[in-house]
Every structure is written in C-alpha cells, then in structure tokens.
Amino acid sequence: MSYPRIVVLFGIAISIVFFAISTMLYSRSSLSDQNSSKLDTVGGHTPGYPILKTTGDILDPTSFVINPKNAVVDPMKYLREFNYGRVSTSSNGTVIRDFTLIASDQQTKEVSPGVFYNVWTYNGTIPGPTIRATEGDLIRITLINKGTKFHSIHFHGIHPSEMDGVFEGIAPGGRFTYQFTAEPFGVFLYHCHMQPLEEHITHGLYGVYIVDPKQGRPQADEMVMLMNGYDTDFDTENNFYTVNGIPFYYMHHPIQIEKNRLIRIYLVNMLEFDPLNNFHLHANLFNFYKTGTKLIPDEYTDIVTMNQAERGILEFSYKYPGMYMFHAHKTEFAEKGWTGLFFVKDNTSESVNQNLNVTSTMNNTIYSKSNFSNATNIVPTGGLK
C-alpha cells in the first residue's frame, strides 16, 4: 500500500474518531456545571429539596401564573362569581331569570402553565359560568352555538323531556332557549350532552348550577369549586387535574378567608376518565350536604369522595389563622394540579402576615396583587341579588 494512501486512511479514521468524541463531549454536561450568574431558582417549595440556580428557563406550574389573555379561566374570579341572570317578574309574580350561553369549540387556550389545548366552552371559560337561582324561579337559558359541531345543554334537576338537552342538538349557528322552573334546591351541574359525550365533556363544556332554598341559607363567604381534568394528549388519561380550571392555581394564589367566618363551598366533580375524585380539607372538618338537597348535613368529615357529576355543599370555618392546604386525597391528582391553599386571616391582628413565609412565592407575579384585592370583595350570602 502506498504511503499517501495510508496517510489518507489514517486521516479518515482519526477524523471519524474525533467526530464521535466531539459529539459525545458536546452532549455531555451535568448538574455540577451550574452557572450561577442568573438569578432564576427552582426547587424551593419542598422542604429538603435543593434549590437550583439556572441560566435557563424555569418549568414550574406550581408557582407560575398564566397570562390572563390566554388563560382558560381566571380561577380567582370564577371562585366567587355567581350569575343570577337578567331578572324580570312575570304577571303571576314568578321571578324570571334570563341567561345567555355561547358555545364555541375552536379556541385554543392555556389550561396549565405553558400548555395549550383546544377547549370547547360555554362563554369562553372552563368551567362555564355558574348559574344561580332560587327554588321556583323560571329559568330561561338561550344557547347560541358559535361552534362547528352540534352542542346542547343538559341540566341536572327537574324539568320536561324537551328541556333535557339530549335528543335535540343545536346546530352550528343555531340557537335554542331552554326554559324550566328551578327545582329542587341543591347544587347541580350542566353540560353538553351531544355524542360522543366523553369528547364534549372532556373538552370543557360544563358548569355549575345552583338552586337556593326559598328561605335561603345562613350568611357565609360562599364559593364554587369545580373539580376537573384535562387529557391534553388524548390517551384517555388526564394529564392535569384542577379545581376551578387551572392546575395549582390556588397554590400561588391562596384563597383568602377570615378566621371564624362561615365558609360555604358548592363543590362539583366533573372529572372525566378517572372514576373517583375527592376533596380533603387540612386541619379542619366540614359539614357535608350531599347534593345540597337537604338543610341538615349528612356528614361531619374532612374528606368527601365523588364520582363524576356527584356534588355537594361544604360548610366550615377556621379556628386558627394561617395557611391550610386543600386537595384531592387521591395524591396523584394532587400532584398533577388539584391542590390549593386557604390563607386564613385573623382580622383582629396583622401578625399573621408577618409570620408566613409561604407568601414569598405569591408575590412573584403582577397578577397576584390584583387577585388579592379581588379576594377582599367577599360576595355576601346566597339568595337574591
């Protein structure tokens, strides 16, 4: 073999080896390579976990807030927003409540920080608006279908067959007014009942419907909580679990409540795919009114477990100020977003604020401040508005 050829062959061999080694060196790196020039940190939430500094980006749905422009819902607004409709009175004195719901199925919204999903909604949010009336009121809900598929509204409660939203779908571009008397009192839900049912529900066509008893319920700080999930990769398993639409939202925006004040939660489970869901309250117990159809509590407990469409009313008050968790005690759901915090304030002293170090994550964002100010406008008791 001639000398130059050997040289060429050697050259090729050596360059192959160099190429391979440089590829490997390029892809190599490790934890110890951390460059501490930038201030972003991650990992501080859990005791015992190291806090890492990074020059890159942070992926942290437990402390990030979605830009309201893209968010599928504003959970803090949704929490205490009850819609009583456009109120009028009929000749015989019946209160008439008119609502308009617009169904759409073409929007893509952020359902979990950084995750965009094609949502099907009533009035642009998941969950849809909370509809509230008093027993005996006449409810008229006009559904305008601005989507590309047939949609409907199926209310739970007592009503005639043709108002059940099952056999007649509303065509794209069409509209229909559902009309029925609000009965009985309790906490209910509404959702689209078109086929395939699972598809219409899991994309987000549902909401809470509350019927108050005529005599009303005791004064309380009232809120609505709807438990759901999102299967963003269509494998019939939920990727995210939430209460009120966005995973981990109430972790970085704790719900502010007052010490010793009665809290009433209208809790609905709309979780698809998983047979069970539950609600567990920390450091406290609550009175549970199953389906809310009686005024006497069924149970005094700190956990309630529900199948899809099951619901109830929770009543409790906190004895001590501080930060308290509430979450699904199916821990998988909790760790995939269904977890939140109550921030119990002692209105007689301000000491609580200073004692809490958890608030550091809360104040990271611009939106948090506006939400805290909203949170102080506590909606008065149920009943007529």
Partner: protein, 437 residues
C-alpha cells in the same frame, strides 16, 4: 501516437467554463426552488393541522438531589417545553439553555428530586400542546463521575470482560497447532460461526439502541447498515493492502530480519520454507498472521462498541453489575481469543509477546469503550461504533472463509461437513454463553 491520444482525452475531460456552467445550473435551479418554497406566502403547502411535536429523552442522569434529563427536539418544527414530571407527577424544573427548542436542538431538564437508589423512574416531558413524552429508567443509580475510582472500576470491568477472556482464549494456541487438517477446518469454521454471531449480535444491539433511544429523525437504522457496510469494505481494502505489502516485502528474502515490528514480518523460520517455494505459497504462509491481526483489530473494534454499551448501561442504570454477569461476559468473550489463534495454527510459531499484543488489541478497547460509554454517553456514538464493529467482524469472517477456501483447494467450502458442523457449533456456543449475560 499514444501521447497524442492522451492529450485529446485530456482536452475532452478538461474542466472548461462551460463544464462548470453545466454543473452549476442545476444547483441554481434547486436554490431558486428552495427560496421560492421558503418565501412563498404559505399557500402552496399549508396544512391546517400543526405538525405533531416529538421530543426524545436521550439520557437520564441521577445526581445529588436531582434528576437530569437530556432531551432533543426531533420533531418537524420548533417546540416549546411546558412542564416536566417524575413518575407522571408534575415537578418544578429548570431547562437549559431555553424552553424553546429549534429543530434537533437539545436541552437539559433539571428536576430537583430526592430519588431512591435502585428504584425505577419514569421521566416525562410535556410540550406546549400538552403531549407528554416519557423515558423509563429501570434502576436509578448515581451517574458515574470521571473520578480515579470510577475510572479504575470501569478499567477492572473492561479487563474482566475484554482483556482476560481474550487472553484465556489465546491459551488454545498450542492445542490448535496440533490438530489434523479436518479438525483444524472445524475450528476455523467454528471461529467464523462465533464471529457471525457476534456481528449479528452487534447489529441487533445497535438497532435496539437506535429504536429505543434515538429519534426517528436520525434515521439511525439505515445509519447502522450504512456504517457497517462502509466499515466492511474499508477493512477489506485495508487487509488486502496489508497482505499485499507483506508479500511484497517477503520477496527480497534476506534483507529485513529486523526493523519491522509488524505482525506480517517474516521470521527466520518462514524464510527457510519460503526459499524453496513459489510466491503464491509464500503468500499463503504470511496470510494467516495478517488474518489473525485483522481478526484482532476487528474484535477490538467490536469490543470497543461492547465497552461503550457496558459503560452506558452502568450510567443509565439499566444493568446492575454482578459477578454473575461478569462471568457470563467472560465465558462469552473467551471464544474471541480462539478466533484470533485459529488461522495461525498452521503457520510458524508465534512468539508469546506477539500473541499478547494481539490479545491487547482485541481486548483492550473494551476498557476504553467502558470509559467513553460511562462518562460521555452518547447513543448515536454507541450505535456508530457498534456498527463499525459489526462491519469489522464480517470482514474477518470473509477473510477466514477466503482463507479456508484457498487452503481446501478443489474440495470447496460447503463440501466439507467439518466446516458446516464447526460453523453451526460456533454460533451455538455463542448463543449458549450469551444466555449467561
């Protein structure tokens, strides 16, 4: 006249401006096409459906208080990473350099996590459209750090798995030398059987890595075949050259008794025989040593790939190294030593030091491979080296077959039942010892 013709030919093939033009025009057309496609207002090929993202998690490392996933965007377009999870439970994480990955770009996802040694973990990455990609690690183990201790551990593993077995196999040399031609053929074909098994094994293993770890974007499976074929033909060329050079050098009989440490160096014993023989016979006698050398090199390349795979397996927590496993590898690889000595059995006596050198060439790369694989794991490099090794092995098989064909003369290869039995038996041995691994 001859000269005249040559210049004519030279004129015809001279690169004129027109030739360049003819060569460049198609490139200009292609370029114009590309510019048109990239700048067209999207009417031409716009699809209403966004292309599906694809993220490959190439490697997962377990470090103090954290899990690090090395990911690559192997989808058709840019992708944004939204979230990370461990065992399908969302955890805060950092991603470097950026959560936005251009096509084929890579990133490092660091998840602060207190993990338990020896437990399986699934690391998940969710993109901005909610698609989740997952990588399972069978057994979490701290990532090897390039420390002296770890390096010597890999060296010991490499020695046990590569060097010692090959050396043990070489001990068969005196035995092979005393065999009758038929039995010798049997052992040669046994060697070929062993090697064919090794080659197929390497191809399958690299295919497995290509399928499980590398993204389809790399077209790794076709790369395996490509690299193996190029490696095979390159080594065939090299070995032809080696043998030619050896026979050329052996023609002037007396001059070089020294000055060449090469394996193909003819020693005195050989020169004696050669003095009374034709040049083709000379070649026959030099060939076995060259073949053995090529086998040693081929096995060395193969063992480098094997070392890479072993180091990577330790790194990725896919294998808990036990003495049983090491024993399995040892038995499996002992046969490689046999493969090296078999072609030399009927040649002159080989000095022990030369045998040792061949053993080191064949076995030593295992250690280097283990270092590279354990400290600088790269699946694409592992696939490439395993394929090079496979090509090397098949070159060796070709050499042995050609050698046997030559020595068997008129009988041919498939006429000799010893050869068939030996070949089958060789593969069977590898299969059985492979069960131990």
């Amino acid at each position: 006249m001859m000269e005249r013709e040559e210049t004519n030919i030279a004129n015809t093939y001279r690169i004129s401006k027109r030739t360049i033009l003819f060569g460049v025009v198609p490139i200009i057309v292609i370029g114009a096409m590309i510019i048109l496609l990239l700048n067209s207002p999207g009417i031409l090929f716009q699809n209403s459906v966004k292309p599906l993202p694809k993220i490959s998690i190439e490697k997962v490392e377990f470090s103090d208080g954290g899990i690090v996933a090395f990911i690559r965007n192997t989808g058709p377009s840019n992708t944004t990473i939204a979230q990370a999870d461990v065992n399908d439970r969302i955890h805060p994480a950092a991603i470097e350099p950026s959560r936005i990955l251009t096509r084929l770009a890579d990133a490092k996802v660091i998840i602060p996590f207190v993990w338990n040694i020896g437990e399986p973990y699934k690391i998940g990455i969710t993109t901005d459209d909610g698609t989740r990609f997952e990588k399972k690690v069978d057994s979490a183990a701290p990532a090897p750090r390039p420390t002296v201790g770890q390096a010597s551990t890999f060296a010991i593993i490499g020695t046990y798995v590569g060097v010692i077995p090959v050396m043990m196999g070489l001990i068969w040399y005196p035995f092979i030398r005393r065999l009758s031609p038929n039995k010798y053929n049997f052992f040669l074909s046994l060697t070929a059987g062993l090697l064919v098994f090794l080659g197929i094994d390497a191809l399958l293993e690299s295919n497995e890595i290509a399928v499980s770890t590398l993204a389809p974007a790399f077209n790794a499976q076709i790369l395996i075949i490509m690299v193996a074929i190029v490696s095979l033909i390159t080594l065939l060329y090299v070995s032809q050259r080696l043998i030619q050079r050896a026979s050329k050098r052996s023609k002037p009989k007396i001059e070089y008794k020294s000055g060449y440490s090469s394996h193909s160096e003819p020693d005195s014993q050989l020169s004696d025989i050669r003095s009374s023989s034709t040049s083709s016979q000379q070649q026959l006698l030099i060939k076995p040593i060259a073949i053995s050398m090529m086998i040693a090199i081929g096995i060395g390349l193969h063992n480098f790939g094997e070392g890479l795979a072993i180091g990577a397996a330790v790194l990725l927590g896919e294998v808990a190294l036990s003495s049983f496993l090491i024993l399995g590898f040892t038995l499996h690889n002992t046969t490689e030593g046999l493969a090296i000595v078999a072609p030399m059995a009927k040649s002159r006596r080989i000095p022990v030091t030369k045998l040792m050198i061949m053993g080191l060439i064949a076995g030593g790369p295992t250690i280097i491979g283990a270092w590279v694989g354990g400290f600088l794991y790269s699946p694409i490099a592992t696939v490439i080296f395993l394929s090079i090794g496979a090509g090397a092995i098949f070159q060796v098989v070709y050499s042995i077959a050609a050698w046997m064909y030559h020595t068997n003369g008129s009988r041919g290869l498939l006429n000799n039942h010893w050869i068939i039995i030996g070949f089958a038996f060789g593969m069977l041995i590898m299969y059985l010892t492979g069960l131990l691994v």
